[in-house]
């Protein structure tokens, strides 16, 4: 897919673990892993909203579009 998820980079910047982020966002660790590995087919606005709130960032910091 042309959309790249840079969640790992943002998590490293904020020094937050996967389990902690999953707990704060309210999703399972398995679902967070799907999101991080780019296997997700869609992201709910509510999830994106919560991730941005927890990581104090913009959606553009997490998602990136790249020409294939």
């Amino acid at each position: 897919m042309a959309i790249i998820v840079n969640l790992d980079v943002m998590m490293a910047k904020r020094k937050i673990s996967s389990n902690e982020l999953a707990e704060k966002v309210g999703i399972t660790a398995a679902n967070l892993s799907i999101l991080k590995t780019g296997k997700a087919k869609a992201v709910r606005f509510s999830t994106l909203d919560k991730i941005c709130e927890v990581l104090e960032c913009q959606p553009g910091d997490i998602l990136e579009y790249e020409h294939e």
């Binding site: 679902n31 799907i34 999101l35 869609a42 709910r44 999830t47």
Partner: protein, 158 residues
Amino acid sequence: MVNEITGWSQMKSLKLSRLLVAGLFFLLVVILFTAHIIAEWFSIISVGQGIIGGRLDIPVTVMIYICDVFAITAVAALNKLLSNISKDEVFIEQNTLCLRIISWCCVMAGLTFTVFSLWRYEFLFAAFFAMFLGLVMRVLKNVFEKAVELKSENDFTI
């Protein structure tokens, strides 16, 4: 879950379906071993006509053998389908494959009946019903295929 009106639970319904499939499988095995007797009986009572005349017991025996193989294959796929449903695995690729197998078995049986209608035209009715059932199963397979795709999309929406 129990139906308030009938008092019939989903699990019981599934068990009944599996029991009926097992019964049908047993019946098909019996037919496989008694095909020549059924064919002889059919050739005695049959009053119809066909393009090819002559003895009817050999072609009917062959037809029963061929159709029985398709029927057993379809019943095995049906059993696998019910087994998956009982494990709460409904919209999966394997179930789509089962429906595809059943559909093709019906179509192949329909074609077999069409060939053997050369001996008796009445087999054309059986051919029509088999083909019709094959078509219904094919549409059902298409619905399942789409449902599997939608479920996968839903599962991977975070």
